[in-house]
């Protein structure tokens, strides 16, 4: 797509979209949204970038290797947090019992491990969306 308006608007919009995605992920446990919704927003911003600037530039921004690592890492965060619960409290995915801070209800840092899990889910969903999109593009060509 070689349109200067679209390119410039995209440049302006993408940072806001990504910051909004991060906001949704981080506030997942105190407000509607969460890892999946926020990850989808970030993933969509990456898809928008690929659509506007082409597959090559998109690959430079977020390579296949990076998405592989991000996908594995997202689940690994979840598993490791779960294992902390298993080791400390004797049950997989134990939250407060395993020493995660409870915090003040309504703050970002509250709810023990849930924000960490949300970040993991967010990374996983964002990278899955962009790699699925790339797979579909490559298939068509």
């Amino acid at each position: 797509m070689n349109d200067i308006i679209i390119k410039n608007i995209t440049r302006i919009v993408i940072p806001f979209a990504q910051i909004y995605g991060i906001f949704v992920i981080l506030n997942g446990h105190v407000s509607p949204g969460g890892g999946f919704a926020g990850g989808a927003i970030i993933g969509t911003s990456l898809i928008l970038y690929t659509l506007v600037f082409g597959r090559e530039k998109g690959r430079k921004k977020f390579s296949h290797k990076a998405s592989e690592i991000a996908e594995t890492g997202g689940i690994l965060i979840y598993v490791i947090v779960g294992l902390i619960g298993l080791v400390v409290a004797g049950r997989f995915l134990t939250n407060l019992g395993a020493g995660f801070p409870e915090g003040v209800i309504g703050n970002i840092i509250s709810g023990g491990m849930i924000p960490i899990l949300m970040i993991g889910i967010g990374i996983k969903v964002a990278s899955t969306m962009i790699s699925l999109f790339n797979l579909l593009i490559d298939e068509a060509i």
Partner: protein
């Protein structure tokens, strides 16, 4: 303390193995294979240990995150789940060894890693289905299982595999959604998704919300029936199982459809109870489905020219046997069904793997091209013959024991008509298995020049076949050692 963690550690081992395969992509593939084998070995050891533990010490109840069962997710390891996870681990290990001998036919080299990722996710979801004690969690694992199965079917990039994978996906999504509607209706009536708690409150709920429970049972029977390829819902199975690579056909036919039938058993006997089932005369419906499936599956199998399609239809008939045992709703029936799940798992794995080796070297799938193969590939055809004779139900094989038990169970319930159907179905099995064996061992090969072209088979492919052949015979000669575990599994399902 550590024993309690074993079920979740089993699941995590599979999951982590699947996660690390993409990261190992740039290393030699051998590392992945060895690591996968270590994982399977560890899971096998822990499953066997759990089987011993639950039979001798007591069942294990594990709740996630320390929440009590009615809020959280609960894993229960009882003789039932421990027995079948062990069987799955054994079969999966055998198939894994076989597939490492580069017999994953038709898969491109670059897809090997993906194939093993899918395999380990598949195993994880099956272990999860068996361990979990929560019908909604079961649904989640069922979804993982059907999506990975669909991907495994379509991993060969050919047109016919895409068609069969699409058909599989459509049929199985219908099945999953029917199951989910059943879960929702039960949740509406009882307020729980935990199987133990539902089981306790089911009698009251049946009085208060009879319609809900009846509809839920109907949806669940249809949904799980589609997934387990019970006769009228089987149309996806022959395509899917014949177009997948041989090793995954073995997994799909020997393990995956059995897992759904085990969920079915759980739903029938733990979620609902015998009084409700008897009041709605579910037994009659299941027995009719089973009887029709036993006959029609075999009849369709006779008409097939492609070996793998024939084995697929044979699986439909065998699911009829298992359903017959379950449908009797008696101790003996369930025992026969569970034993047949084991023996059919062994026999179908042996059949698909030996056929896989034949296809790998001879590049033919036609039943008519098996002439004289017994002299060229003695091990593959020998194991094929043992397994086929087991399917027919000759003594000394595990198939005989399961048919014997099934016949006794049928007679116990005075359903003589099904004994007749059982015998007719066995005779139909003779019609399509015996000609293959006869032409392989008694006829000459049509093209003698091909004799030289068969290279030496890798040892990793031969060893699992021999092991399977031996297991079929050992289980057939000494069924009592295994029967102990099966009976305690039946007792834990059916109080």
């Amino acid at each position: 303390m550590i024993i309690e963690q074993l079920p979740i550690i089993n699941l995590l081992l599979f999951l982590l193995m699947a996660l690390f395969i993409p990261l190992l992509k740039r290393k030699p593939f051998k590392i992945t294979l060895i690591l996968g084998f270590v994982v399977l070995g560890l899971v096998f050891i822990s499953s066997v240990y759990l089987l011993w533990y639950v039979n001798n010490v007591g069942i294990i109840i594990y709740t996630f995150g320390g929440f009590e069962a009615r809020f959280g997710i609960e894993f229960v390891v009882d003789p039932f789940s421990a027995l079948f996870t062990t069987i799955i681990a054994i079969l999966a290990a055998i198939i894994y060894i076989y597939s490492s001998g580069d017999a994953t036919d038709g898969i491109e080299k670059t897809e090997y890693g993906r194939y093993y990722i899918l395999l380990f996710l598949l195993l994880m979801s099956m272990f999860g289905i068996l361990y979990t004690n929560d019908i909604f969690n079961t649904y989640v694992f069922i979804e993982i299982l059907s999506i990975t199965t669909c991907a495994i079917i379509s991993i060969k990039k050919k047109k016919d595999t895409y068609t069969s994978a699409f058909r599989y996906l459509m049929m199985n999504e219908l099945g999953s959604l029917s199951y989910l509607i059943g879960v929702a209706l039960i949740y509406m009536a009882t307020g729980y998704t935990n199987i133990t708690l539902i089981g306790e409150s089911m009698s009251n709920a049946f009085q208060a919300y009879q319609l809900n429970i009846v509809i839920a049972l109907g949806f669940m029977i249809i949904g799980l029936g589609i997934k387990a390829a019970v006769f009228p819902f089987h149309i996806w199975l022959p395509d899917a199982h014949s177009s997948a690579p041989s090793t995954s056909s073995a997994i799909l036919s020997a393990i995956v459809i059995k897992v759904y039938i085990l969920v079915f058993v759980k739903v029938l006997f733990r979620v609902f109870n015998l009084e409700i089932l008897n009041e709605m005369s579910i037994s009659t419906i299941l027995l009719i489905l089973a009887g029709v499936g036993m006959i029609m599956g075999s009849v369709f199998a006779i008409a097939q020219k492609d070996v793998k399609r024939m084995l697929g239809y044979s699986s439909v008939a065998q699911m009829g046997y298992i359903l017959l045992g379950i449908g009797l709703l008696s101790f003996e029936g369930l025992r026969a069904a569970f034993f047949h799940i084991l023996s059919h798992g062994l026999m179908k794995t042996a059949l698909f793997l030996s056929v896989g080796e034949i296809i790998f070297y001879k590049k033919t799938r036609k039943v008519n091209d098996f002439d004289g193969l017994g002299f060229i590939m003695p091990v593959a055809m020998g194991v094929f013959s043992i397994a086929a004779l087991g399917m027919i139900g000759l003594p000394l094989t595990s198939g005989f024991i399961s048919k014997l038990n099934l016949g006794m169970a049928v007679l116990d319930k005075n359903q003589t008509i099904f004994l007749v159907i059982l015998i007719i179905s066995s005779l139909l099995n003779v019609i399509y298995y015996l000609p293959i064996i006869i032409s392989a061992f008694l006829k000459n090969e049509k093209y003698h020049y091909r004799l030289e072209s068969i290279e030496k088979t890798p040892r990793t492919m031969i060893a699992p076949l021999i092991l399977l052949g031996l297991l079929i015979i050992v289980v057939g000669i000494f069924p009592n050692q295994i029967m102990v575990f099966i009976e305690s599994a039946v007792r834990s399902v059916m109080p």
